[in-house]
């Protein structure tokens, strides 16, 4: 009870602080207070601000471009019988089509060329494509959701939507919301770290807004951990400057800032001094983080030799684990190239090779270290792909257009039920269906939620929930409105939670 009251009080202070900063004060004075707040709150609240958190941290493996659920997770054997035939009108049921296939004369059904195998999980099993042999070995840990859906039908709006809750730029990203809500668990590393994994088909753009802070103060934006140049922008001292030189500089800076503070008594000057100190610490904590020298050979057996090459997805996954170990709350890896309009066989094969072993290794590694239970891992893209072919339909190769009405994602750890699947789609993987195969047409609705479905707002609400945040209560006032990540929507999908 006392904790609850204390939490409430802290929440209040916190909202006042942050709310004010957005609109009122906004000087570094506030930033100083907030930084202190971040540390104190983060540590005291054990990750949760509205209820006890199940997950202390989240690792989000983002597959940019829209992976084909039909070739990876959503097994549709009946499509074989319809090979090459036009997708029935009643299946399409008014769904709009992108400008890329809307002029196509037919929408020929295109079954997956890949073999699916039924893998054991903790329930009825789950079908996994041959493209993901490693991931297939961790299905007992995964909750595979077949019924994620969105309204957006093109990349830019769709990825902006799933990452910020709005199709139009300007809102804070999921990561920024978490940083704002939860602060940091450590004093040596940023609280929100973003990595870009390399891909052979780096189609589709990413945008700063996907990890940006939108209308929130920019301290909540994701910090890029890069594989080229300085791992964190401007981390390393200029050539010819040693760590001792830097220490002397920071000391001089402190003395100068203290003199300034003496004259003007502005508390934010003191906050700046603390930031310089943290920067100095980061200069040793980040290299320590990036140094894989102490990782035993077994690590690379697990993640694959790719993990030794900076910038690969496997290396990013290994970094993610190391970041998680060091108290970073919020880690996101973006992997591009899933936009298979024409050459799905060629591209998805490579894409899966990129990500398969690393993702599976991350799950195993976290599990082994006892960290999976409080680390929420999410895998998915911004939408799915069509069951009809875009362009030429061949037995060995084909293309698929964007599909918003259903797509597959998976979650693991962090209090999500392991080894289950959730929701089902029709025989074409086109519509979300009930257990009997009848079409459900879920809409994002603030009052009503359709069981068995997970709109992207529901996904975000559920992620926040696992981190101890009520998505309806984490608000930020801007332009007179209390904004939320989930806008006015979102339902926590409790069915998949332990």
């Amino acid at each position: 009870m006392n904790d609850l009251i204390r939490n409430n009080e802290l929440m209040l202070t916190r909202r006042l602080l942050f709310g004010r900063t957005a609109l009122g004060l906004g000087t570094a004075a506030m930033a100083g207070l907030m930084n202190r707040g971040n540390q104190v709150l983060g540590a005291n609240l054990n990750g949760g601000i509205h209820h006890k958190a199940k997950a202390k941290r989240v690792i989000y493996l983002f597959m940019s471009g829209g992976p084909s659920h039909l070739d990876l997770w959503d097994y549709k054997p009946k499509m074989q019988q319809m090979y090459g035939k036009d997708l029935p009108k009643e299946v399409r049921d008014g769904q709009r089509i992108t400008g890329m296939t809307s002029r196509q004369k037919t929408l020929p059904v295109c079954p997956s060329k890949y073999k699916f195998t039924r893998q054991e999980n903790n329930a009825d099993g789950v079908w996994v494509s041959e493209l993901l042999p490693h991931t297939a070995t961790v299905t007992k840990e995964l909750c595979v959701v077949h019924t994620a859906f969105t309204e957006a039908i093109n990349h830019d709006p769709a990825i902006t939507y799933i990452q910020s809750g709005s199709q139009i730029p300007g809102r804070p990203s999921l990561g920024a919301w978490l940083s704002y809500g939860l602060g940091s668990m450590n004093e040596n590393l940023p609280s929100y770290v973003v990595m870009h994994a390399r891909s052979r088909h780096a189609e589709q753009s990413l945008f700063g807004r996907l990890w940006g802070s939108g209308f929130m103060p920019s301290q909540h934006q994701g910090v890029l951990l890069r594989s080229q140049g300085d791992p964190v922008l401007y981390l390393n001292n200029p050539a010819g400057v040693t760590r001792e030189d830097r220490r002397a500089q920071i000391d001089a800076l402190s003395a100068l800032n203290k003199a300034q503070h003496k004259r003007f008594a502005d508390p934010s000057v003191l906050a700046r001094i603390k930031q310089h100190e943290m920067a100095y610490r980061m200069q040793s904590s980040v290299p320590e983080l990036m140094d894989l020298g102490k990782e035993p050979e077994s690590t690379f057996e697990l993640y694959g030799n790719d993990a030794k090459t900076p910038g690969t997805f496997a290396a990013c996954c290994l970094n993610a684990r190391r970041l998680a170990e060091r108290g970073v709350r919020n880690i996101q890896i973006f992997h591009r190239g899933w936009d298979a309009h024409g050459n799905l066989a060629g591209e998805h094969g490579n894409q899966c090779k990129d990500i398969d072993q690393g993702s599976a290794a991350l799950i195993k590694d976290l599990k082994e270290r006892g960290m999976l239970e409080d680390t929420l891992v999410v895998w998915g893209g911004e939408f799915g792909r069509t069951p009809y072919c875009q362009g030429r339909l061949g037995k060995d190769n084909y293309g698929r257009d964007h599909h918003p009405r259903c797509f597959s994602i998976w979650m693991a750890g962090g209090g999500v039920k392991p080894g289950i699947t959730y929701g089902q789609t029709d025989d074409y993987g086109y519509n979300i269906a009930d257990v009997d195969g009848n079409m459900l047409k879920p809409q994002p609705d603030k009052d009503k939620w359709t069981p068995g479905t997970m709109h992207i707002h529901d996904l975000n609400a559920t992620i926040l929930h696992q981190l101890g945040i009520d998505h309806k209560q984490l608000t930020y006032r801007y332009q007179g409105r209390d904004f939320r990540l989930t806008d006015v929507h979102g339902h926590v999908v409790k069915d998949i939670l332990m």
């Binding site: 093109n154 139009i168 100068l256 906050a271």
Partner: protein, 797 residues
């Protein structure tokens, strides 16, 4: 716990009683409570017919089967009073996310007891000037009045040097030049400060610095902003903004040209360029994008930017439903959109630089000047032509037949001369125009596009009849004689009776002068926004702006010459007013990203003063764009500029909207994907890293160190000079000590490790003076870099 509870009750009872007689101000006290706590269900967008509406007197006094929310005849029995105090079945209900606080309950209670009457929200009532009863600066009158009422004093005047620095940074974005500073300090005339201010207002840097705020507000960028985020031809618009601010184009015209310059009779080139404003929305050409969807989205963006930048509210809520708090109907949103829905550009940008319609415009300020100069010469030629041709004609008239024939065979030399001059002018114009570049502009379709209300803001769900362009009723009526197009919209915005535009602009001018606005929520003047700290002052200034024909320089002059601006910014030890809402001390805030960079370039004499032209690309860590961009994008490779273009003012740094320069975004610059009228000011460790390690900053430190060493020989003078440049004053003992200590330590180290000095001194493109001792230079460079990174240089105070 129990004790605390009792205290609260006692306090409530006490304040309740004490204040019972005090007249409650509906607009400033009651309406915010109703808006924040009640309107979510009982506001303008209430759909359920049986629910009481509390956004008007009429609604609140409606008979609800024998009782009324407000009963004017039996005030004490008003249902509001009953329900807000009902423990069992309270309002807002138990499950509501926002409940009433004790003081809010008290405000509502007093309001009902005092008659429960309504008034219009302050921001929707046109401002009027109150008499100031003072001969001094009216700003000080309003500020002093409130301060005195609180029983405190204004801070003393700031030190003259500090003040000169503050004024220079506020107006031009640079500290005062040491010479300028010296002249000012030695100027003992009573109006020395005013003279300095006038110099600053006349500096071309003024326009560059002030333009930035407008470019944030209207989301200026050099790329399309979505998907491929390709290059876009629009920088002549940016240069036009700088020019018009420097020429002090009245703000009403500044707005009118941007909204409807193309619709003015016989528009000038500048008026056409100004319509680039209409084209500033982020755009896409993504393969699968649906044109109708982006026609709607582009226009949403225009309406909401207009709202944020000029109306002080984004209107975004009304896109999907009638506004919950502010009296803006959803229909009105789409009526406003109808003004914009008639421009001729395609809804998709084709990933093209020339995304038409476009025109050719001068490519930088120099070519503007050149073109204008030629135009002036042409005027002269035309003027001479009148005289010469008239003379010739007169001669002809008077001449005999014989003489006329002679005139024909022997043309007038003056006419021949004139023709030659005209030919030269024509050639110069043609040549000048050959160097013109593309800039996107607005053009009207001859046949208007239909605009309908879009249900839930969905492009594919239009409902109802086509809407004619119109403006929200709550913000005043549309001028009778104005056309129903963008030009008419501009007339409405700049009309004397408009309640918002002058206030919103004045508030932001105040914000960039004093660090914060009089209204602390510059993007929300609506019911949910904050009240102005000094309502009468805001109104006085807003009317003053209009009285002075929307003269920006005059307004800024009034502000910076006020006693309020000139106060010391030191805080009192008790921190009585941490947010400076009383304005009893001078402004103090961290400078913007651009200014931080510009100061370094300026102090190190690296700055290239060239004005205007295509965005420049200073060093940026390799691969930043490539890691994000589609292979088909023409902005996937960042190729840093060479030579002087490295060192242009930050206003000109190339603005790629999906990935602006990290030295901008790290220090809180917005992405320019959406309107931003107030930047946050954060302090982060990644900023600290950038301040001391970024290549250009290191180079600035190095060149500043070099300048210092070349201009002075001994440490004392070097540090003095450094502080004069960056702090406009001599260093204090502690500061001097810190600098000397750092210098000595580093010099010793570099003496021992000459290679380190050499490598350090080779960072950046600019040439190093090999005559200077490497160890001393490297050490002084680090000192310069350190002082540049200190709050002494990074703040206005």
């Amino acid at each position: 716990m129990k004790k605390k509870f009792i205290t609260i009750i006692f306090f409530t009872w006490l304040t309740g009683n004490l204040l019972a007689e005090e007249k409650v101000d509906f607009s400033r006290e009651v309406l915010p409570v109703l808006s924040n706590k009640c309107f979510v269900c009982h506001g303008p967008d209430t759909k359920k017919k049986d629910l009481v509406r509390l956004d008007s007197f009429l609604g609140a006094t409606r008979d609800l089967d024998g009782y009324k929310a407000i009963d004017p005849n039996k005030l004490e029995e008003s249902e509001i009073l009953v329900r807000i105090n009902d423990k069992e079945d309270p309002m807002p209900p138990h499950k509501a996310e926002k409940k009433l606080t004790a003081s809010e309950r008290d405000i509502l209670t007093r309001w009902i007891k005092q008659g429960g009457t309504y008034a219009t929200h302050w921001a929707f009532v046109p401002p009027v000037k109150k008499k100031t009863n003072s001969t001094g600066n009216p700003i000080d009158f309003f500020i002093a009045k409130k301060i005195k009422a609180k029983g405190i004093d204004m801070n003393p005047k700031a030190d003259r040097r500090i003040l000169a620095r503050r004024a220079a940074l506020t107006l031009t974005g640079f500290p005062p030049d040491p010479k300028q500073l010296k002249t000012y300090i030695e100027d003992k005339r009573p109006d020395a400060y005013e003279r300095l201010v006038d110099q600053l207002l006349d500096s071309p840097s003024f326009g560059e610095h002030q333009a930035r705020y407008w470019l944030d507000a209207i989301r200026y960028g050099d790329t399309h902003g979505l998907h491929l985020d390709n290059r876009r031809g629009i920088y002549p618009f940016r240069d036009w903004v700088v020019r018009s601010i420097n020429e002090n184009l009245p703000l009403d015209q500044f707005i009118t040209w941007q909204l409807g310059g193309d619709l003015l009779p016989d528009p000038t080139l500048a008026q056409k360029i100004a319509t680039g404003f209409i084209r500033m929305n982020p755009s896409t050409a993504e393969g699968g994008a649906i044109p109708a969807e982006f026609q709607a989205k582009n226009n949403f963006d225009r309406v909401e930017t207009l709202g944020t930048a000029l109306l002080g509210m984004s209107l975004i809520c009304a896109r999907c439903h009638t506004h919950k708090y502010d009296p803006i109907l959803q229909t009105e949103y789409y009526q406003l959109m109808a003004f914009f829905n008639n421009t001729s550009e395609s809804s998709m940008d084709g990933n093209k630089y020339e995304y038409s319609p476009n025109i050719k415009a001068p490519a930088d300020q120099a070519s503007w000047n050149e073109w204008n100069a030629i135009k002036e010469i042409r005027k002269g030629v035309l003027k001479d032509a009148v005289k010469i041709q008239t003379d010739a004609f007169n001669r002809w008239q008077k001449a005999s037949e014989e003489e006329r024939f002679k005139l024909l065979t022997n043309p007038d030399q003056k006419v021949v001369e004139l023709q030659k001059r005209a030919a030269i002018v024509a050639k110069s114009i043609a040549e000048s125009e050959k160097r013109f570049t593309t800039t996107l502009v607005a053009k009207e379709l001859s046949k208007p596009r239909e605009t309908r209300l879009l249900n839930r803001g969905e492009y594919n769900l239009p409902v109802g009849e086509p809407l004619l362009p119109d403006t929200p009723k709550a913000m005043g009526s549309f001028p009778k004689d104005a056309p129903r197009n963008r030009l008419g919209l501009a007339h409405w915005l700049t009309a004397r009776e408009h309640p918002l535009v002058a206030r919103v602009l004045t508030n932001r001018i105040w914000q960039r002068t004093f660090g914060e606005g009089l209204v602390r929520t510059p993007a929300d003047f609506g019911l949910q926004g904050e009240q102005p700290t000094h309502p009468e002052l805001l109104d006085w200034l807003a009317v003053e702006l209009q009285d002075n024909k929307w003269n920006l320089k005059k307004m800024m002059r009034l502000m910076v010459t006020s006693r309020t601006f000139q106060q010391s910014s030191a805080r009192d030890s008790k921190q009585v007013d941490p947010e400076n809402r009383l304005w009893a001390r001078g402004p103090s805030y961290r400078l913007d990203a651009e200014v931080l960079r510009d100061i370094g370039l300026w102090a190190s004499q690296l700055l290239d003063p060239t004005m205007g032209g295509e965005g420049v690309k200073p060093y940026q860590p390799a691969g930043l764009w490539k890691a994000l961009m589609h292979p088909g994008s023409n902005t996937k490779n960042y190729v840093p500029d060479k030579g002087v273009r490295q060192y242009r003012r930050s206003l000109y740094v190339y603005w790629k909207r999906t990935s602006p320069h990290p030295m901008m975004t790290l220090f809180d610059a917005p992405s320019r994907e959406t309107s931003c009228v107030r930047r946050s000011r954060t302090a982060t460790p990644t900023q600290s890293l950038a301040l001391l390690n970024e290549r250009q900053r290191v180079e600035m430190g190095r060149m500043l160190g070099q300048r210092l060493l070349k201009e002075s020989k001994d440490s004392e003078n070097i540090i003095n000079k450094l502080f004069t440049l960056l702090a406009s004053r001599a260093p204090e003992e502690a500061e001097k000590e810190a600098c000397i200590k750092l210098f000595q330590q580093l010099q010793k180290r570099y003496d021992k490790n000459p290679n380190d000095a050499e490598t350090f001194l080779s960072i950046g493109e600019s040439a190093r003076d090999k005559e200077l001792d490497a160890a001393s230079l490297a050490a002084w460079s680090q000192v310069a870099l350190t002082v540049l990174a200190s709050d002494i240089a990074m703040w206005v105070y």
